[in-house]
């Protein structure tokens, strides 16, 4: 199907996955509220499965979207969007699966949880595919507002509320910066359409008006906040730490992936002409993030918080792919986001599983001896941690290799070196957990007995673990898809400026 966005009906088709998911979420919301009379716990998993079915329906619509092409609308219809959507839907599905047992244990199993989660995913999908800055802003806020609530969803836990407040205040704060940036860019160029922006800006780096540069700078700040790049990461550890763990998983995977997708689209495509300016800023952000986050992660005693810093560090790695700003980089970017989603969601899944009642056991000591008493769980965790560290035999290694490859193709040698050094640092704290699990005895013979991960969580962790391993041994299919999806992204740029320096 060919869409030219001359009529509003085209938007209906172009937005089909989002529409399906929104309608589904509304339906789930009403279904939940109308079955209130029979407030039995038994009916609750049904809502979760319903939400999962909604995600599946959106995925089907997304598959259908592969047959559609379209240009000129406020929403992109291209391979990049479809690939990003799959990553986001995967993140959502994993988050729902790991939520099921968690919500019961923490007595917060309410249908709104899943509804908000679905709305957040709609926001993410819009964010990742917006072809217009204002739509991008709306998508961002739709996602953020839903996530603010989800972070504070555990009302009995003051930490959850505190995390929500911090995330909300700082998130809104950063949104204002982003919005200001949009306003200035709009003022300087007279458009918010990303394709038009690229044309308007052209290659005029020298004579770019101050208004435009300030706008681009503010946009960079706003995005850096959302992807949690240092020093705009300050909200991340607290928000991730206090949030209910499934939501932490969703924030670390979906939210971050969506923000990154938008960032790449806006900067690499629209502001391609200003490449020389912004690439330096992102260079520093990437370097600072990789080094800083890994160093701070070394000092963390809580595994959950350590994973929060780890996710910041990974934002740095992905930023390297953004800095590379070529087709290889974009493909590496998508591939890495996929691997990252799997391994991070899996790791948080294990953090959820290692809990007794509503007490999460997140300190390093709580993992002592896990390797002997819960070998399957510990083995999965080890796989995720090693993959996060970039150990060969895991997808994380291939992902890092591709990013390195992209960085070298773009002559970013120092950044590549920093990436390697930072990964070496990261081995220390990832390995520490593995070592504690396998080489420190548990305080008692039954310390970890009876940690029963719910069946859906087992499925999620299993899928993630197998995915992480498979992405090492057979990454070709995914990588081909990623390379195919970004093929169109840079065509305009290459035609305009011959920007892509990669092969």
């Amino acid at each position: 199907m060919e869409l030219d966005f001359q009529t509003s009906v085209d938007y209906f088709w172009a937005l089909l996955p989002e529409i399906v998911l929104s309608l589904w979420a509304m339906g789930v919301l009403l279904a939940d509220v109308f079955q209130k009379g029979s407030r039995s716990e038994a009916s609750r998993p049904a809502i979760a499965w319903l939400a999962l079915a909604g995600i599946a329906a959106a995925a089907v619509a997304n598959v259908w979207l592969m047959t559609v092409t379209g240009t000129g609308g406020m929403i992109a219809v291209d391979g990049f969007r479809i690939f990003a959507n799959f990553i986001l839907l995967l993140a959502a599905a994993l988050a729902i699966l790991v939520s099921m047992g968690y919500l019961d244990r923490h007595a917060m199993n309410r249908g709104e949880f899943y509804v908000l989660l679905m709305f957040a995913v709609v926001g993410m999908m819009i964010l990742a595919s917006a072809q217009d800055l204002i739509l991008l802003f709306v998508g961002l806020e739709l996602m953020s507002v839903a996530i603010y609530v989800l972070v504070g969803f555990n009302r009995r836990d003051p930490r959850s509320g505190e995390a929500a407040l911090k995330y909300f205040l700082l998130g809104a704060f950063a949104s204002a910066f982003l919005l200001y940036g949009i306003a200035l860019v709009f003022g300087a160029t007279g458009t918010t359409d990303l394709a038009l922006l690229a044309e308007t800006i052209g290659t005029g780096v020298q004579d770019a008006p101050l208004l435009l540069m300030m706008g681009v700078g503010l946009l960079a700040v706003g995005f850096a906040f959302k992807v949690a790049a240092m020093p705009f990461h300050v909200w991340t550890p607290d928000a991730y730490d206090g949030a209910p763990t499934p939501i932490t998983a969703l924030m670390a995977t979906g939210v971050k992936a969506a923000a990154f997708a938008a960032l790449l689209r806006v900067f690499a495509v629209s502001f391609g002409g200003l490449h020389e300016t912004w690439v330096v800023a992102f260079w520093w952000l990437a370097a600072l993030t990789m080094i800083g986050a890994n160093l701070v992660a070394l000092t963390q005693g809580s595994v959950k918080r350590m994973l929060a810093y780890s996710s910041i560090a990974h934002a740095g790695y992905v930023l390297v792919a953004v800095v590379a700003a070529n087709a290889v980089g974009a493909a590496a970017f998508l591939f890495y986001l996929l691997v990252y989603t799997l391994m991070t969601a899996g790791a948080f899944g294990i953090v959820i599983a290692n809990a007794r009642g509503d007490r999460e056991r997140v300190s390093l000591e709580d993992y002592a001896g896990l390797g002997w008493q819960q070998p399957v769980m510990a083995a999965a965790f080890a796989i995720f941690l090693l993959s996060l560290a970039g150990f060969p035999l895991t997808g994380g290694f291939i992902g890092k290799l591709y990013i390195l490859r992209a960085a070298l193709a773009a002559d970013q040698v120092p950044l590549a070196v920093i990436l390697v050094m930072a990964s070496l640092i990261s081995y220390f704290y990832y390995l520490r957990v593995v070592i504690v699990m396998y080489m420190r005895p548990a305080p008692a013979a039954d310390t970890h007995a009876g940690l029963t991960a719910s069946r859906p969580l087992q499925v999620a962790v299993g899928v993630a673990a197998i995915g992480v391993i498979l992405l090492f041994f057979a990454p070709a299919m995914v990588l081909d898809a990623a390379q195919g999806s970004v093929a169109g992204l840079f065509i305009a740029q290459e035609a305009l400026f011959g920007l892509s320096r990669g092969p």
């Binding site: 009529t7 509003s8 509304m26 919301l29 009403l30 509220v33 109308f34 209130k36």
Partner: protein, 118 residues
């Protein structure tokens, strides 16, 4: 262009002058003899109960929040109403979708009991 705003400016000026004059006159001519009853907070003629720093019921907040959300819909609906004939059926459909979504929200909060005071 800017001249067309002149009547508004005049209206603005008159209302400001009006307010200043009335307040100024009462200040100048009225006697000022406070008693404890007179300086008590005005509660619609009822005798005051308790201090002024009382905690409000959280229900006020709920209502206020709901108000904000539904109030804002007019921001979109008024421009649409003004330009309805130009926008045609497409605009009508868009507005209906918007109202439909709001209605879902309304049904939700209704069933949740957020609209009942008790």
């Amino acid at each position: 262009m800017i001249e067309s705003y002149l009547p508004i400016l005049i209206l603005l000026a008159i209302s400001v002058v009006n307010a200043v004059v009335i307040l100024g006159l009462t200040y100048l001519v009225s006697p000022y003899r406070p008693t404890s009853v007179k300086s008590a907070p005005y509660e619609s003629g009822m005798p005051g109960l308790g201090g002024t720093r009382d905690r409000f019921s959280v229900k006020f907040y709920v209502v206020a929040i709901l108000f904000i959300v539904f109030d804002v819909e007019t921001v979109f609906l008024v421009p649409w109403a003004v330009a309805m004939r130009d926008l045609g059926w497409e605009g009508f459909a868009a507005a209906m979708i918007f109202i439909f979504i709001l209605t879902v929200g309304l049904i939700y909060e209704w069933k949740k009991g957020a609209l009942e005071w008790d």
